[in-house]
Symmetry: C2
Subunit: 463 residues, 2 copies
Amino acid sequence: MGEVIDKLWRRINENSQRYLGVLNDLLSFPSVSATGEGMDIAGDRVRETLESVGLRSEVYIDHGGYPVVWGELREERHGTLLIYNHYDVQPPDPLDRWTSPPFTPQIRDGRVFARGACDNKGNLAARICALDLLMEVFGEIPLNIKFLVEGEEEIGSPNLKTFVEKHKENLSADACLWEMVGSSPSGRPIIYLGVKGILYLELHAREKRPDLHSSWGAIVRNPALELAHLIASLREKSGRVPVQGFYDDVEEPDDDTLSLLEELREAESEIRAVAGEDGLMTDKPIKDLLNDLLLHPCINICGFHSGYTGQGSKTVLPSSAFAKIDVRLVPRMRPEKVLETLRRHVEKETGGRVTIKPVDMGYPAARTSPREPVVELVTRTAEAAFNSKPLIYPSAAGSGPMYLITDYLKIPCVAAGIGDHLSNIHAPDESISVENYLRGVLHMALIIINFVPFYRSGVAPYL
Amino acid sequence: MGEVIDKLWRRINENSQRYLGVLNDLLSFPSVSATGEGMDIAGDRVRETLESVGLRSEVYIDHGGYPVVWGELREERHGTLLIYNHYDVQPPDPLDRWTSPPFTPQIRDGRVFARGACDNKGNLAARICALDLLMEVFGEIPLNIKFLVEGEEEIGSPNLKTFVEKHKENLSADACLWEMVGSSPSGRPIIYLGVKGILYLELHAREKRPDLHSSWGAIVRNPALELAHLIASLREKSGRVPVQGFYDDVEEPDDDTLSLLEELREAESEIRAVAGEDGLMTDKPIKDLLNDLLLHPCINICGFHSGYTGQGSKTVLPSSAFAKIDVRLVPRMRPEKVLETLRRHVEKETGGRVTIKPVDMGYPAARTSPREPVVELVTRTAEAAFNSKPLIYPSAAGSGPMYLITDYLKIPCVAAGIGDHLSNIHAPDESISVENYLRGVLHMALIIINFVPFYRSGVAPYL
């Protein structure tokens, strides 16, 4: 059956300039949701691109916020795949650290450089080009396809829930392919079976007095001290959260999920490199580190400010202090309930002297069982397309609104992508390798042509 | 003997315009040590003022830093009083909150408004005018007088130690009168028998990695968390410092000192007003609060910064965190030894992941026994001059380089002044009351004329 793959891969390489042209078009306009730059025309440009490969496409704005671009190919076949992407990008600052301008794509050393090259226009372009490829080779797309391309992912998807609720009927599918990640440093494609949930909070300690001369600190309460004690009570140095009730809804990962961790040992060197020398909180073995990183909730201090933080010495007893924290959630934890649990703890520890303020109520986690057929399908096709055995992560360490698919729409969902460890997402000189991009086209094509037979009989005929 | 007091007070009132003129002259030039504004001529102006009442005066710069103005009246009498003041002032910012310009003195409602009116030119002027008064009334000054008027008090007196070491021989005296404070809200003159020492430090937690996405916070060390735990280990919520060895050199106050606290009960309402509602760390009775505030060391958090502290949410795992802390010392604690004690604690708690950096090595505390004759002399003369029983504080809660007098020169030292609770020192619309200023002249005069008989026989003939 390698014949079909070979044929597709040859054709992709013959068409590579055209496929890079599709990518180039998407990368040539800004679409910065955080600042609004380019957002007035971005939705229409994406719609035109979807239409160019024969999708029926529409721009929705009825959910509020930036447009969702919808694309559909409904041929009444026996399977439906929902594809999630986003067309908005992170701000390109600092501009002076780009080798070439962020919205003028440039190919250097086999890589395409532009803001959004990896996150997430490259992914979107590869998936669109796969449809073009299949129409050219087979004259048809043997699967119902639904594209949901939002424009607010980089600002936390504040209106995606409304969109999904409004269009629930149209969103039915057998499986969903999410956008994210790419290949590991050793070239193995990474697949995520979920994401963590998130809740973002501020803690405010404020005294009913102005700043005082620091000599009063001998007897007058110091909100910076109050907050330091509170934070120490929220999280032990080992990482554990000693807050009553915090772990109540946390289920220990099942054996299927834990066994996935066994296969991720090669992540150890990357994790140690990221953490820096002596940078890990514990000296646990890699499997336990991955368990903590991917499958357990945590509280992180994102920021802390109080009093005088300029040069030299100023003897002041501050009147206020605040901290910003994010809480990463695992399945079954609800942000509202976690907030209440933390509120009780803060009240008990500080007697009401520290208030907790939700900045972003976030969303719950999402998780798809490794036993779902889509997991095997995406994994086997990735191995064929990228010529390397995939690394399957039961969850990302990060967060995204994937629960709308898995929990609200009840559709199993996996994330795959075309980035790599050099992609610099959210940073200057963002890029993807041309080869990974083209292999992403192949991966998408293989998922589509194998989907219906695999779902019907468990066989992937074109692998 | 009230006759002499009455005569002096009448004469002071007759001369009040002249004495206010001396004050006005000193307040009419800026002398901002923090910015250097006016410092080029300030020393000479002070020298001229000292010379105007017959003192031999000199401007010294051999210690480095801004000039020390020295004034002397050496008539080979049997007693010598050293007087410490400073002519530098705090910056006048914010200028737009002054009712009249800070260096254009204005009298309104019986008060003189200008930067330095209270801290410390008013004090200096009153002391100078007392010499003028005594020359006029008695034709002589019955005491050796030495004025040490420095120009760096508001920036921490960085060069005073060098000056005192260089001029040790000239600085001998029976007692020293320090500058500070004034009257309580109820009008009682306040006298301090010491100051706390101080040590100003920064704590730095820094990881060998850049800022990371906060999802890594599940397993990667967070310096903000590290620092919060360290701070909680440096100071309990009750105020106690649970650091091994911290209290080793602290002696419990003796009975003489403790009994002074009994007389300070009226401070309670002021302390509670300053602390604000529920603002005190403990619900101890006032005597214990004063004991903590004045007679025990403490650690105060002046500032704390880490990570993202702007608007909204940013999910970041910071790479560094720092805090600024001041340590207030009591007698027998040496800054160098306290630093070593804290360094050991920080090393033990953090395994070297937090470093401690001295910003200002500060100085030790100073304390004069309530049994020293100068205490009774200054107290009794203050009661006569201000018509109200003084409040004697065994120590200020704040700090100053008074140890150079008490410990290095071995001269007993007490602080008295002419401010009040409306004086706004270090703030816009700084002021003193004209009456307090004139009573300050009387107080100084009474100290001088009673000094030698009191030291010789324990009798103050002119009270």
